[in-house]
Amino acid sequence: MTLAIEVKDLTRRFGDFTAVDAISVDVQVGEVFGFLGANGAGKTTAIKVLIGLLAPTSGSARVAGFDVVTQSEEVRKRIGYMSQRFSLYDDLTPRENITLYGGIYGLSDLDIRARGTAMLSELGLMQVADKLVSTLPLGWKQKLSFSVAMLHRPAVVFLDEPTGGVDPVTRRQFWEMIYAAAARGTTVFVTTHYMDEAEYCDRLSIMVDGRIAAIGTPAALKAEFGVSSIDEVFVRLARPTTAGAG
C-alpha cells in the first residue's frame, strides 16, 4: 500500500528556535489522520512545510507520492488546504470564490458550476451563494473554506483546525464531510483541539515541543497510557509549553 504522506526526520528552525524537531510520520491513503498538539507545539509549521509554503531546514517529506521540496508543483496539484485563519476572499461571494479556485485548479466551466452548486446545497449555503463572504458568520465561512479545499478532489487534504470557533451542530456536519471525503479515497490530515474529535480519527499523533510524543490508533494510545480517553493522553503528554509558532 502506498503512503499518502511520508515524513522522515523533518526539521524546521526559525533562527535558534526549532519549531519542528526531526519528526517522522507515515499516513496511509484514505486515512483520517489526527495531528494533535498544544498551541505552539509546531503543528501549523509542520503543515506549512508539507503543503509547500515553508522550506524545511532538514529531513524529507513526500505528499501524494511527490517530494515537497523538489516536486512542489506536482504536490500542489494534488492537495487541498484549509488554513486555521479564514483565507478566502471576503469581498467576493461564495460562488465567486468557488469559481476562482475551480478555474485555478483547471476545472471546466461545467464542472465548476456543477460541483459548486452541489457543494453549496450540501452545505446549506445556497441562499447566500451570491452574498459577500464578509457578511457570513464564521461557521459558514469555515464550511465554504472546506468545500473550496475539496473542490478539485485532491488526493490529500490538510485541515488546520477546521472546527475552531464553530458550533456543535456544524462541527458534526464537518466530521460527516470529512468521513465522506475519506470514503471517496481522499486522505485527510487534520489538526484539532477538541479531544472528542480526536477519537473520530483512524490514527493520530500528539506533538509536544516540536516532537511527536505519541502516535497510533486512539484505542492503542489509550491502552498505552492506561487511560479511558484521548483527553487524558493529551494532558499527560502536552504539559504547558513555551510559546512559539503554532
Binding site: 478566502l88 476572499y89 475551480g102
Partner: protein
C-alpha cells in the same frame, strides 16, 4: 492561461467593488492634474525693476518702455544711481536693476552697438534665469526693430548679468526658449509630465499594496498552495492596474487638451504605445516592492522612497542636463524620465517613431527587467 482568466476576473471584481478605490483611481489624478498644472510653473509673471537711466534719451526711455509694455516687468522705482538700486535689490523691493549707461543713444547711432546692464537677484536661480531670458528676448527684439530703422545692421549687446547682492551663484544659466512652445506656455510643457507622475504615483501605490495586502489577509497562502505559476500570478496583478492606468491616461489627455490646450502634434498611437511599455516598468516596480515586503507599511515606505527618486530625477522639475554627472547616470535608469521626454517630443514637437525609438527601446527593456525581477523575487514558499 486559463487560471489567468479567473484571476483577472477576481482582481477586477475586487477593484470595482471598492467604491473608494475607484474614486481614488479615476478622480485623484484628474483633479490633481487640474490643480497642479496651474501651480507648477516656472513662469515669472511680473518682475519689479529698478531703472537707472543715466542716458535719459529717447532711446533709453523706449528700452524701458519696451520692457514695461511686455507685461513681464513693472517699473518699481528709478534713479540715476546704481548703489541706490543695489540697496533696493538687497531689500528685495525689486527683482532686477536695469542700468542704461550714459551715451547709450549716441553709441547706437554712431557705433550701432550699445550695452544695457541687468542685475538680478539670483537667490532663486530658476526664477532669475527666466527673468533674464525674458529681458534678453525683449531687448533682442528691440534691437531687431531698431536695425530695421537704422541701416546698417545694429547689434544690441545682450544682457550682462552681475553677481546677486547676496551670496549666490556666480553665473546664471540662460534658459533658451524653445521653438516648439512658441506661445511660451509652460503648462504645455508641464502638463504631460505631471500627468505621467500622477499616473505613476497612483499606479505604483496600488500595485505595491496589492500583493502585500493579500499576505496580511492570509489569502495569499491559499493561492500559493495552488498550482498557479508565479508569472501568471504577477500578470494577474499587473494587467488590471495597467488597463486602468491606460484609461486614466486617456482621461488625462482629454483634460490636457480641453483645459490647457496642450497640443497633440504627433501620433496619439505613439503616446499610448510608449505608455503601454512605461506602465509595465512602473507598475512592475510596485509589484516587486509588494513581493519582497511583509506588511503594507513596509511596502508604502519602500515605494515612497522609489517615487521620490522617480519624481525628482525625471527631469520635470529640474533639467537632467543641469545635474552632476553621477545623477545624470542615475536618471538614465529612470523609466519615467524617458517616457516624459517621449511624451513631450511627440505632443509638442510632433516627433515620429524614429525620433523616439531610443526611448521606446529603453522603456521596453526596463519593463522586461523589472518584470523578470518581480517574478523571480516572488516566492510561493518562504525560505
Amino acid at each position: 492561461m486559463r487560471a489567468l482568466r479567473f484571476l483577472l476576473r477576481k482582481e477586477f471584481l475586487q477593484i470595482f467593488r471598492d467604491p473608494a478605490l475607484v474614486r481614488m483611481l479615476f478622480m485623484i489624478p484628474v483633479v490633481q492634474l487640474l490643480v497642479l498644472s496651474n501651480a507648477a510653473t516656472f513662469e515669472v509673471k511680473r518682475a519689479r525693476m529698478y531703472v537707472v537711466d543715466q542716458d535719459a534719451s529717447t532711446m533709453s526711455r523706449s528700452v524701458v518702455d519696451r520692457l514695461a509694455a511686455s507685461g513681464r516687468f513693472a517699473r518699481a522705482a528709478s534713479s540715476g544711481s546704481v548703489p541706490l538700486g543695489d540697496e533696493a535689490l538687497m531689500r528685495r523691493e525689486v527683482e532686477l536693476i536695469v542700468v542704461i549707461p550714459a551715451g547709450f543713444e549716441r553709441a547706437i547711432v554712431r557705433e550701432h552697438r550699445a550695452e544695457v546692464q541687468l542685475q538680478l537677484n539670483a537667490e532663486d536661480g530658476a526664477a532669475a534665469a527666466v527673468t533674464q531670458a525674458y529681458a534678453r528676448e525683449i531687448l533682442v527684439r528691440y534691437a531687431t526693430d531698431l536695425s530695421a530703422q537704422l541701416t546698417p545692421a545694429l547689434s544690441l549687446a545682450g544682457a550682462r548679468v552681475e553677481r546677486p547682492p547676496m551670496r549666490g551663484h556666480p553665473a546664471v544659466q540662460v534658459r533658451t526658449r524653445g521653438w516648439y512652445n512658441a506661445e511660451l506656455d509652460y503648462r504645455h510643457y508641464m502638463v504631460p509630465g505631471i500627468l505621467v507622475q500622477l499616473l505613476t504615483i497612483v499606479g505604483t501605490l496600488l500595485t505595491a499594496m496589492n500583493i502585500v495586502r493579500e499576505k496580511e489577509a492570509g489569502t495569499l497562502d491559499q493561492l500559493n498552495v495552488t498550482p498557479v505559476t508565479k508569472s501568471v500570478f504577477i500578470a494577474a496583478k499587473l494587467i488590471p492596474l495597467w488597463v486602468i492606468s491606460m484609461v486614466v491616461l486617456s482621461i488625462g489627455l482629454v483634460v490636457a487638451k480641453v483645459a490647457f490646450g496642450v497640443p497633440m502634434r504627433g501620433s496619439l498611437f505613439l503616446v499610448f504605445g510608449g505608455a503601454a511599455l512605461y506602465l509595465v516598468a512602473a507598475l512592475g516596480i510596485g509589484l516587486w516592492v509588494s513581493a519582497v515586503t511583509e506588511t503594507q507599511q513596509q511596502a508604502m515606505f519602500v515605494n515612497f522612497s522609489f517615487l521620490m527618486v522617480y519624481l525628482l530625477m525625471s527631469g520635470l522639475f529640474t533639467p537632467i542636463s543641469a545635474m552632476p554627472e553621477w545623477a545624470q547616470w542615475v536618471a538614465r535608469f529612470n523609466p519615467m524620465m524617458h517616457y516624459i521626454s517621449l511624451m513631450r517630443a511627440v505632443m509638442l514637437k510632433g516627433a515620429g517613431f524614429v525620433d523616439v525609438a531610443r526611448q521606446l527601446a529603453v522603456l521596453a527593456s526596463a519593463g522586461v527587467v523589472v518584470l523578470t525581477i518581480a517574478v523571480r523575487q516572488y516566492h510561493k514558499r518562504s525560505a
